[in-house]
């Protein structure tokens, strides 16, 4: 663990990204403390500029506090990003593990299914799924997971294909361990590093998809989100720039930070690239 941190630390931008993410997480965790009221509440004079009428980052056309929206929206973005990614990784591991380990016909079937999902443009597909299921936090998580698991499945399949013929796995066969045990206890732990890396990058993508959906009005109507704020403010971009600029910056910084962390994890966990610089 300490050597892992040593390697991670070498990548300065990854450390910066981690710091930003920690700030966003603290922001999300203390949202109810910083702004202990509903972010949809009409808090004051509409369209106040930043710093006016007690609004740090201004207010929107209905007098909602933009700063409160950003703090509460962080909760939504992180939660959806994390849960959707976990669901996607779970589906991806199940598909990839069985396809890679057993190969043959099962592999063909599972990979053709994966390819069907991969050929559909993911954002359009997510819109379609949310529209069918009615916008809610659950349907958004499902939609994001459904469009993002194929990448994981392909990655896990590749790792399983490579690892199943390694000698330590063959040794387990001679020791009479069953397939499920070999898959879970021997192969999966050895392909966790690339899964963690791809997972961290998927969180960023999931946040972007969620924002996009909310921007188009397909977000959960009861939950404040960055995409929703941008969508609500886009018509007033020229007269009240702060309404969509600040949530936009929040998305930009968060996604960038997560990508930097993913990059750093990749450098630290991937032994083949370890000596890159």
């Amino acid at each position: 663990m300490s050597t892992f941190w040593q390697r991670y630390k070498r990548n300065k931008s990854a450390v910066f990204g981690l710091a930003v993410i920690i700030i966003v997480i603290i922001m999300a965790a203390t949202a109810n403390f910083l702004y202990p009221f509903d972010p949809f509440r009409l808090a004051g004079k509409p369209l106040s500029g930043p710093g006016m009428n007690g609004f740090w980052l201004g207010s929107d056309s209905l007098g909602r506090d933009v700063a409160a929206g950003i703090v509460h929206g962080a909760k939504t973005s992180l939660l959806i990003g994390l849960i959707a990614t976990l669901v996607a990784i779970f589906i991806g591991i199940v598909f990839g593990a069985f396809a890679g380990y057993y190969g043959g016909r099962l592999d063909d079937i599972l990979m053709r299914i994966t390819e069907i999902f991969q050929t559909i443009p993911s954002f359009i597909f997510a819109i379609l799924l949310v529209a069918i299921m009615k916008p809610s936090i659950v349907s958004i998580v499902i939609a994001i997971a459904v469009v993002s698991w194929p990448g994981v499945a392909r990655l896990v399949r590749g790792e399983f294909l490579a690892l199943k013929n390694r000698e330590f796995v063959q040794a387990c066969h001679t020791l009479g361990m069953n397939d499920l045990r070999i898959m879970l206890r021997e192969i999966l732990p050895n392909c966790m590093s690339p899964i963690i890396v791809i997972g961290s990058l998927m969180v960023a993508t999931a946040i972007l998809i969620e924002s996009g959906l909310a921007f188009l009005g397909l977000g959960d109507p009861n939950i404040m989100s960055w995409g929703f704020q941008i969508g609500a403010g886009r018509t007033m971009l020229r007269s009240a720039w702060w309404v969509c600029t600040f949530p936009g910056v929040a998305i930009l910084i968060t996604v960038l930070a997560i990508n930097l962390v993913g990059e750093g994890l990749n450098d630290a966990l991937n032994p083949r690239l370890r000596e890159r610089n």
């Binding site: 000698e167 040794a171 066969h173 001679t174 020791l175 069953n178 021997e186 050895n190």
Partner: protein, 331 residues
């Protein structure tokens, strides 16, 4: 002596399946790269209790495949593998560990151990899974297993990468012996080790054999190692055993021209065999083995019949079997 493992005309092929691009290419008349590789082609071999059989041959001759079939990693296509007179069973099915009579030691101990598993878990996982020991006894069991291969208790909670190659191979041996096998297949088990360590590991193999009455199938390309450990030596060429004899007999009185050539290539101060012609030419592609005797393309004494008829493995005298009609008729 009782036979512990017996192979009866075991055969194993690998088919390279044509992929989509291949199939499209062959539709347009291109030559398909698909083919059948007979890695093991009709092998009969019996290993007695407490016996060490060496298996030598060039790389690509199918000796590793044969070892994996014996160890139950690969299934054979046809033929029988009998363990104590009974066909091998699906190892995962027998809960009491009775299907674990054959274990394997691999060439590279670094890749034969799970890099993320502590030594104690590597050794005790299978015995616990098969109910040979209880989880609470695992630590004592692992200590005893390590002592048997000359390692100390402090290795238990470390990871494979913290050990040297020789120590890792000792761990692999401890892991294989943890399920009380009768036969151990050693596939180039010392080839990746330093020469000084090789000797230690080989002596460990021999000590354990005496202590536990084990049988070994000792696979190697290095005759000088095999000769040191084996009671009998089998020489393999392109998936077939071409000569099988007690060690002394094989070394002093090699019959098959391939065996003679192999022995001639061993660097030696003894000039006895140096006049023999070393092997010329490459090993023919096993995808497309020559007709007749597999060896006739490189054989100095091949006759016309060798090119058309596949010779059989015939018994000469003193348990010496050879697959060559020329030397058989000479006798």
């Amino acid at each position: 002596m009782e036979t512990v493992i017996e192979l009866r005309s075991v055969q194993r092929s690998f088919v390279t399946e044509p992929d989509l691009a291949d199939r499209i290419a062959s539709m347009f008349g291109a030559k398909s790269s698909a083919g059948t590789l007979r890695a093991v082609d009709g092998v009969d071999l019996a290993i007695a209790e407490g016996e060490v059989v060496g298996l030598v041959g060039e790389s690509g001759c199918g000796k590793s495949t044969l070892g994996r079939i014996v160890a139950g990693i690969l299934p054979q296509d046809t033929g029988d593998v009998l363990f104590k007179g009974r066909p091998m069973v699906d190892k995962t099915r027998c809960k009491d560990g009775s299907g674990l009579g054959v274990q394997m030691i691999f060439q590279n101990p670094a890749s034969a151990l799970d890099p993320r598993q502590k030594i104690i878990d590597a050794i005790t996982e299978a015995p616990i899974a098969h109910g040979l020991i209880k989880r609470s006894e695992a630590r004592d069991f692992a200590i005893r297993a390590l002592e048997r291969v000359g390692m100390r208790e402090d290795a238990l909670d470390r990871y494979p990468h913290q050990f040297s190659g020789g120590q890792r191979q000792r761990v692999c041996i401890a892991r294989a012996l943890a399920v009380n096998p009768s036969v151990v297949v050693c596939d180039e088990a010392v080839a990746s080790l330093d020469v000084s360590i090789q000797a230690q590991i080989i002596n460990l193999f021999l000590d354990l054999k005496e202590e536990l009455n084990l049988s070994y199938l000792f696979i190697s390309h290095d005759i000088s190692i095999v000769e040191h450990v084996s009671d009998r030596i089998a020489v393999m060429y392109l998936g077939q055993i071409v000569e099988l004899a007690p060690t002394r007999e094989l070394l002093e009185n090699p019959q098959h021209p391939y065996t003679r050539a192999l022995l001639a290539e061993v660097p030696s101060l003894d000039a006895r065999l140096s006049e023999e012609h070393a092997l010329t030419g490459e090993l023919p592609s096993p995808l497309n083995p020559p007709a007749g005797c597999r060896f006739h393309t490189r054989c100095p004494i091949a006759t016309e019949t060798c090119r058309s008829d596949m010779p059989r493995l015939e018994l000469l005298n003193g348990g010496h079997q050879v697959r060559c009609p020329v030397v058989q008729t000479k006798k």
